[in-house]
Symmetry: C2
Subunit: 192 residues, 2 copies
């Protein structure tokens, strides 16, 4: 970074905080088709009811905007996750809980996200076998991979590194969405 960048310390006010609950970055990682987006939507609906101020940052949507200059090489995937983590941090600083739904296949990138975001980072591993994801194929992407239309696809010709220290594992082959939300609520959101 250049010499002509000095940190600007703004005074912040806590007066617009909606909730006593600290803002979190709920980081959903897993294969395409594992259920990240469905769970993100259900979590959003659940959290809105307890008056949390929330945003969903979603891999596909972010790649239409902030990260539309990036592809799917390992370097570009890393930069994608880094930017998302920085944005999640900005939202957390404003008192807003962020639901991040990203394949985020590399352990090192998730670790970087955790370093950037800090204690607010909660890793939720959306566990689902590749076979089941291929069967669900909600966006028809696995079919496109089979047809040779997509390369660098996670789980096929690009690796997915299983989380080694997730805060929660949600097995979407075992749990319904309602059960998954209940699990997350109890474990991360302090609800009983």
């Amino acid at each position: 970074m250049s010499d002509n960048v000095t940190w600007q310390a703004y005074q912040k006010s806590p007066s617009v905080v909606l909730s006593d609950l600290p803002p979190l970055s709920l980081w959903l990682t897993g294969l395409s088709g594992s259920g990240k987006s469905s769970l993100a939507q259900a979590l959003y609906t659940e959290l809105i009811t307890v008056k949390r101020h929330i945003i969903i940052l979603d891999g596909d949507n972010i790649r239409h905007g902030l990260c539309k200059d990036l592809g799917f090489s390992a370097d570009d995937r890393s930069e994608n996750i880094r930017r998302v983590a920085e944005v999640a941090k900005l939202f957390n600083e404003t008192g807003i809980t962020v639901i991040c739904a990203f394949i985020s296949p590399f352990q090192s990138d998730r670790l970087l996200a955790k370093q950037i975001i800090g204690n607010a980072y909660k890793e939720i591993y959306i566990k689902c076998s590749l076979a089941e994801c291929q069967k669900r194929d909600p966006k028809g992407l696995y079919k496109k991979v089979d047809a040779g239309l997509i390369r660098n696809f996670t789980g096929i010709d690009s690796p997915y590194e299983t989380p080694t220290t997730p805060d929660i594992v949600v097995d979407t082959e075992q749990l319904s969405i309602e059960e998954a939300i209940q699990l997350i609520s109890i474990e991360l959101l302090g609800k009983s």
Copy 2:
């Protein structure tokens, strides 16, 4: 963008909107030392009192995080502004007003920001002569430029293109901060 990116349509809820006022992106552009940061802080304090949910995005701070990979070439300046605009849009979509304090010297970049953000974008030209900015030199940067320690510095060896269609011009050689806030409040925030 690759073929394997499909827009994910999430259902949003309006239930956490704090204010009836539509969220804005108040875009402060001007030379280093023109008064962007001081005005951003004063605007923040003013808007908090009317219960707006706000964040300040500041050039220097963003360059410590989201844009720390970027330098000060014309291309990097453009990419910096593009990312900030995308983030401002995300905040606006969540009902949050954003105060963007960026030199943003190029007309084309400000136009891009406006295109990304849409109608919420309000351009505030913080007008101040280079001579006065050099006299103020709040961060000692103009001295460093004089000493040959910084290059590509806006107004010296990198151009500042005066806004041609700002929503408001705030002349900080003529107005006090209080007067500037009053002007912005009346013109942009619908206060009388």
